[in-house]
Symmetry: C2
Subunit: 564 residues, 2 copies
């Protein structure tokens, strides 16, 4: 008798599992249960649909050749039976059945499975804030949400909106609204947006958003949604300020949807996701799980974590299919924590551990470097890329990488992700043979140059100071000796105004008499990207100055307001 595979969930992990099962076993029976109406939605595309990058919602559910992924498609092309608008309400593990309810009719039914796959996804967190049920407050999680917000954006029904939560989805939704001509505020309770970035990197993204007209508010939560006639009219944030708006989008995160699993006695972990082994198998050997409802291993920290990402869901679905059909033969080893986000003309990406995450994980001996540079030769139309590397000082092993800027971020984060998967160390990466030609990168790619900086710091050829540390000290009234190594023209155009003295690098050797007599005085150098700052530091050290530091990233990565 042919095996029967039942998959609960029809968004990403579910359809991937079902399709791959079919490719591995043409004769089995495959049934996919979906609570909503839509299947295989490209949900990561919702913000671009809302923002008007494209207008036909069908593009979100069609195959690349334009065929809708509906139950007929799955049945005819894939040999997969799909029940939509059908909720799985219980799992009976003893009998190996699930109870399903046809939502339009309310009829219940019991279905047998040989192997069951849970791909129940995650639900957006809705905070218990007064007024949360007012009209005009949405999430952007479902196709229905996307269509509703698209309607709002297109019909110009609102002229101002608030995004609650400055994570990936929040920022993408903010861009969508701004593109649609809606004045948008982002309210984030933490002291920065995009929490996968370190503060100073996130601040650079925030500055870019502000330059684009977005009202970004960090360090404040929403205390109240204020309505008129049942419709949102403003939000109140901590401190009492009110921001008028007729639309809000809540994007403060998602929680794994595990009620069905838990009710059936399947284990969940500390992160809240369903516990699975390396084969994506739950504690019931006939039940597997994949996608936003599970927790996975972080390959760097070895912790279990909830990692609700569309790409991971698809990969997990493929692994589950191989294991349910052919026995546990394919491992899903885990994630390294990679994410990327387009923010107007900027891109922000990260892979592995940020400095703050590494510190939170207990790493005590961390080496970091912030490197800023154009992403290709100037004559090819370069754009800046700012990279922060995090490594373990004892071994030189890369722990993480973040990159922001207008240049090609996606490539550099991809490289770093591969380096983390390969467990590469500084010495493995200083002489990488990468694809170089002027349309694509400088002769020494930004990623390699950042590794060189990390090596220079590691070998004590350079001592760095972060903009954050310097600013904190300036704020306490300290007045360290700070030298700007740029040229007078550059200084005239852009000036930090932090008490620095301009001595162009080429003049440094002849102007040493202008420096403090005490060679143990701390001297902090910078330039546009701090390469000249670094060269200057080498000169000063050779001249006997014992406490010379380079402000990493220079003017380009300075996250605070400048004098000019």
């Amino acid at each position: 008798m042919p095996k029967k595979y039942v998959i609960i969930g029809g968004s990403a992990a579910g359809p991937k599992t079902a399709s791959k099962i079919r490719r591995l076993d043409e004769d089995c029976e495959i049934l996919m249960i979906q609570k909503g109406k839509y299947l295989s939605m490209a949900s990561c595309g919702y913000p671009y649909f809302v923002g008007g990058v494209f207008d036909d919602p069908a593009a979100l559910i069609n195959t690349p050749t334009g065929v809708a992924r509906d139950p007929q498609f799955f049945s005819k092309v894939k040999g997969i039976k799909v029940l939509i608008e059908t909720e799985a309400t219980a799992i009976n593990r003893e009998k190996k059945t699930i109870t399903v309810k046809d939502l339009p009719s309310g009829k219940e039914n019991e279905i047998f499975y040989d192997k069951l796959v849970l791909a129940t996804g995650a639900n957006p967190v809705k905070p218990p804030i007064p007024g949360i049920d007012l009209e005009g407050i949405n999430t952007l999680q479902s196709m229905e949400d996307a269509i509703a917000l698209k309607d709002v954006a297109k019909a110009k029904k609102v002229d101002s909106a608030v995004i609650v939560g400055g994570g990936l989805i929040g920022i993408e939704t903010c861009e969508a609204f701004e593109l649609a001509g809606i004045k948008t505020s982002v309210v984030e309770m933490q002291d920065q947006i995009l929490p996968f970035l370190d503060w100073e990197m996130a601040k650079l993204v925030e500055n870019h958003m502000k330059a684009k007209g977005v009202n970004v508010i960090t360090g404040k939560g929403v205390t109240r949604f204020i309505g008129e006639n049942g419709k949102l009219s403003a939000i109140e944030i901590s401190g009492g300020e009110q921001i008028p708006c007729s639309q809000a989008v809540i994007s403060i995160g998602v929680r794994p949807n595990t009620s069905l699993a838990s009710a059936a006695g399947l284990k969940t972990g500390e992160s809240g996701g369903i516990t699975v082994n390396r084969f994506m198998q739950t504690n019931d050997p006939d039940i597997y799980a994949a996608g936003d409802c599970v927790e996975v291993t972080n390959l760097i920290t070895r912790n279990r974590q909830h990692f609700p990402m569309g790409d991971a869901a698809n990969l997990q679905g493929r692994v589950v299919a191989q294991n349910v059909v052919e026995g546990n033969r394919e491992e899903y080893s885990g994630v390294i924590g990679t994410g990327i986000c387009k923010v107007f003309d900027f891109t922000a990406g990260s892979t592995g551990l940020s400095q703050k995450l590494a510190e939170r994980e207990g790493y005590t001996n961390i080496l970091t470097a912030i490197h800023a540079a154009p992403d290709k030769p100037g004559f090819m139309g370069a754009a800046p890329v700012i990279i922060k590397l995090v490594a373990a000082k004892s071994t030189g092993k890369l722990l993480g990488m973040q990159a922001v800027g207008m240049g090609d971020i996606s490539k550099r984060v991809s490289m770093a992700a591969m380096a983390l998967h390969g467990r590469l160390c500084i010495s493995d990466m200083v002489n990488l043979d990468l694809p170089y030609a002027p349309p694509f990168s400088p002769a020494i790619d930004n990623f390699i140059a950042a590794v060189h900086m990390l090596e220079n710091k590691w070998q004590h050829q350079m001592e760095g100071i972060s903009s954050v540390e310097l600013k904190a000290r300036l704020d306490t009234g300290e007045k360290p000796c700070i030298l700007d190594m740029r040229g007078p023209d550059e200084f005239a155009q852009m000036e930090l105004g932090i008490g620095e003295k301009l001595i162009p690098l080429g003049a440094l050797r002849s102007r040493l008499d202008e420096l403090p007599d005490d060679k143990n005085t701390e001297i902090i150098l910078f330039c546009k990207i701090s390469l000249r700052g670094y060269e200057g530091s080498r000169i000063l050290k050779a001249k006997g100055y014992t406490n010379v530091k380079v402000m990493e990233g220079g003017v380009l990565a300075w996250p605070y307001p400048r004098k000019k």
Copy 2:
């Protein structure tokens, strides 16, 4: 007494070495000798200068902040003394001196060194073809060449040109001429352009060039340059055809410039480059070498090879500086063989071994996969990326990757290069955690999808046939059963015309009666990118067909003319 470092060569490896030496030792004496007038030229930018991407030659020698890298700059900013228009004519290893000749005056001089660095570069090969000395025949190797060709292009002095040699420089120069409005032919003696690619990948690039109006001729050499009044008027190629042209550019490769080294008894290797150890040190412990004049280790084959690339030269210069100043402490382990090239709206890149190179190196058990797909979701404006992976069948270890197409090739080749540096295997790469968001990639990145295909073939879930093998068989008159799995609309738009029968994937299960009765008959399937071809093959195998193959890459990677 301060150490004296002498560097012969001022293009890429030389200035990098000199600058890094200064950063490591502020007190030493550094002298750089350059035969020509220019220093630190961004020579990889010449084609873009010629083609009019920018017009000021100063951009090729300026720092990112616009300062010319001339002897004054090196002296003032870097503390490096430079002699230009000065030729090093001999090395006296016993006395540790070099003889230099001031070219304008002819005066000779002897200079002492503590450590000597050879960065003498490479010279373009000029074949001994009749007429080679006619006016109008250039190379594109020096700043003077670039300025001369720019003048030709800008002044519209010629209306047709021939590029002799279809390698990286040849193809870039071809694009430059076409952009400048010059009708251009490329003549390549081998049966394909871009020899680092396998034939079928190179053919896709060639097709794109032809679509852009370039006359690409492969498999023929230039037999004669024909002139009128000492000026080029045509070239003759093997077979006797003449191509009228008033400009030719020879780009058939470069040879390491080792005459100085050889005369001093320094060893060179089989590739012709100077032999260096892992510290970039020659057989004289006081003499190091870097850049286009050396041979380096290929990390995959372990062979020594000549690898004249600007990025490698810079990295080697950095290594040499560390070793000459601080003793042999930094290794340059070698290259993996990475290259990339923009060709109009196409990009072609490669890293590691191509299939033909792997075969030439003696690998007998090679696994390959050709994967074609859009580089992001269709609604984000996708462009095709065609990837070929080469792996060792016994271990699943990646040996090489090539990619061509209009999509983001640079990112995928960079990832693959990192995978090769990390010595990753198929199982390390099937579940990569890469930066996914719709503006940057599909949910399963093209690189991962290509690895999935490789795994499917490795695990015998898919049997592939290359377009090249199929075409060769068709050319002998064979008429295998070929099924096109696409939809009728797609078929109406594009048709291979190789005797295929159209059975859309969705109809396959119900139209099995149209297939040969003998289930051992070979059946070859394809679609646009061959994903549906693959799904069809799984159905047919399950139905008892024993000899089912998928034509890899589908219509998108078909390198031959189509019926429609």
